[in-house]
Amino acid sequence: MTSPSLETRDLTIRFGGHVAVNSVSCAFHPGELTVIVGPNGAGKTTYFNLISGQLPATSGSVIKDGVDITGLSPSARAHHGVGRAFQLTNLFPQLTVLENIRLAVQARSRAGWSMFRPVAHFRDLTQKAEHYLEATRLSKLAHQTAATLPHGDQRKLEVALLMAMEPDVYMFDEPTAGMSLDHAPDVLDLIAQIKADRSKTVLLVEHKMDVVRALADRIIVLHNGELLADGDPAEVMSSRIVRDVYLGTATEETA
């Protein structure tokens, strides 16, 4: 098997007496889409925050392609190829859709420190941003400010921002949350495309079981901050312990 793209070793965070993520060790490989499931409060989003750097780990480490990135800032981790989309829409509200995406393209190209050349002269950045606009079918909305978009399009833009970062590791936190049934397939198609690339590592937090079944190569289950199960989707879904702690309650919640 290929060497892991991303690895967490005994990753732990404590908030006072509460251990939100407890010694989670897990390796993620290129070409693999891992779905992370678990009841609300299981620590899924916190686990993401530890990997992408929004929260500092109490102990343990995050390894990206053999490099320890545990102590780095979120921006430095982004430059190491760890990209993240957020559960709650997290855009640049007063900027246009095109500007939002161009910012992500520009961050990767490290052109942000260019202080004197007008943005319009950076044709390559705009073209790349336009490419991602088309890929996410947002071209028609290019000049609308992000704040004025309907929820479904904001979710798409959230995904477009992550794609425009062109990371090695894509982390999606409930990308279809709150989306109508007409819009959700668009976002899932985009994730399927990234998966089809086979060179990217994808982590996906998702509740909807049909989505999990359609996309997952592997499922890990978090419960009370601990890694409860890890393996082949069919195997994990049918295991007794998972049914007890997760599926029993979750199907009621997401119905």
Partner: protein
């Protein structure tokens, strides 16, 4: 190859604002010839310098969302740098250039220290720290009177080129040449020095905000956490823009010191200047650059001419009861306050900001 779908649509509001700014630029360019009296020229020079000062503050508050109360401190560093050296070394260009460099140097040191120590903390703490630093510097300036002249400030001579007696061109009798009735003397040279440096600094700032760097500043204002998450080191960018804005404010201070030939706490350091800057940027419109121009012009014109205007109005209405009392020149601050409240009420995003937004809604759409 450019996609026509993603071309920026024309915006009537923006066009109007730019037109007004172009008109102001033309008036300032020909000010010595259009308004031939000393007071008008004072007002024009003050407008030029405050446009730069307010625009550099807009880089912080409007573009990046940083609230600082130390902007006059940086302005003062530049002014006192030139003033102290002009006093010690006598008139000449060397003290002006050294003073400018010293002002920028001290400003950068302060900006880096304040920035690195406190830009990580919450906005309110950062604002408090800048307020504290500015207060300390103001106290120092009034206490260290052997260097700064204390409360009285420093009076000095500007370089010879800017002396009123200097003749830029002479006629056959050896008298100073006049062009459209204006003496081509050192005062004129001084005004154009102020105008040219202000124009260069303002154009430089326009380049900054239109560059990729400018887009990162806006991203930080809009959503700091996401800007960090997509790969921008927010602390580094915030410190950089704080330094940049401090350096420009300091240069504006040096130019003002050369123009006024006097530097004291009231002209270069006081908190009333800070409040003026805040009002100008709010009235003009934050995060637009053009707003700095419109805000500075309106506010300074009001400060200089509202009294006169009210005096005239009071005389004109002398026969009507109550009105003359209301319009008495002594009540100019009262009316200034009312004008501000009305402006903020009807132009919540400032004059430029509101006009550009309404223009976009009408003309551009999506």
């Amino acid at each position: 190859m450019s996609n026509p779908m993603t071309q920026t649509p024309a915006n009537t509001g923006t066009m109007m604002v730019k037109g007004v700014v172009a008109l102001i630029a033309a008036l300032l360019l020909f000010a010595p010839f259009l308004f031939q009296d000393t007071r008008s020229l004072e007002v024009a020079a003050r407008i030029c310098i405050f446009i730069v000062l307010v625009a550099s503050f807009d880089l912080l508050i409007g573009y990046t969302g940083i609230v600082s109360f130390a902007h006059t401190m940086f302005f003062g560093f530049g002014a006192y740098g030139a003033a102290i050296l002009l006093k010690q070394m006598g008139p000449g260009w060397t003290p002006v250039i050294l003073g400018a460099l010293a002002g920028v140097g001290v400003s950068l040191v302060f900006a880096v220290v304040i920035g690195l120590l406190s830009l990580r903390v919450k906005a309110i703490f950062f604002a408090m720290i800048t307020l504290a630093a500015a207060s300390v510097v103001l106290v120092l300036a009034s206490q260290l009177s052997h260097i700064t002249g204390g409360e009285d400030g420093i009076i000095y001579k500007s370089p010879d080129l800017f002396k009123t007696a200097t003749k830029l061109a002479v006629d056959e009798d050896g008298k100073v040449l006049r062009l459209w009735g204006v003496r081509l003397n050192g005062k004129l040279a001084a005004y154009y020095f102020v105008f040219a440096t202000s124009l260069i600094l303002f154009l430089a700032m326009l380049r900054f905000v239109g560059s990729p760097f400018g887009t990162v500043l806006k991203a930080i204002r809009e959503n700091e956490a996401r800007a960090e998450a997509i790969g921008y080191r927010v602390v580094a960018y915030r410190t950089a823009v704080f330094c940049l804005s401090a350096a420009i404010a300091s240069l504006a201070g040096t130019v003002y010191a050369v123009w006024l030939k006097y530097t004291g706490p009231d002209t270069a350091l006081s908190f009333s200047i800070m409040i003026d800057i805040l009002l100008m940027v709010v009235i003009g419109g934050m995060g637009t650059m053009w707003g700095a121009v419109i805000g500075a012009v309106l506010m300074i014109l009001a400060q200089y001419y509202l009294r006169d205007l009210m005096g005239a109005a009071a005389e004109a209405t002398a026969n009507i009861p109550i009105l003359p009392q209301l319009l008495a020149p002594d009540r100019w601050l009262f009316w200034l306050g009312i004008i501000f409240i009305l402006l903020v009420y009807f132009f919540p995003k400032g004059i430029a900001g509101t006009a550009m937004e309404r223009g976009a809604a009408k003309g551009g759409g999506a």
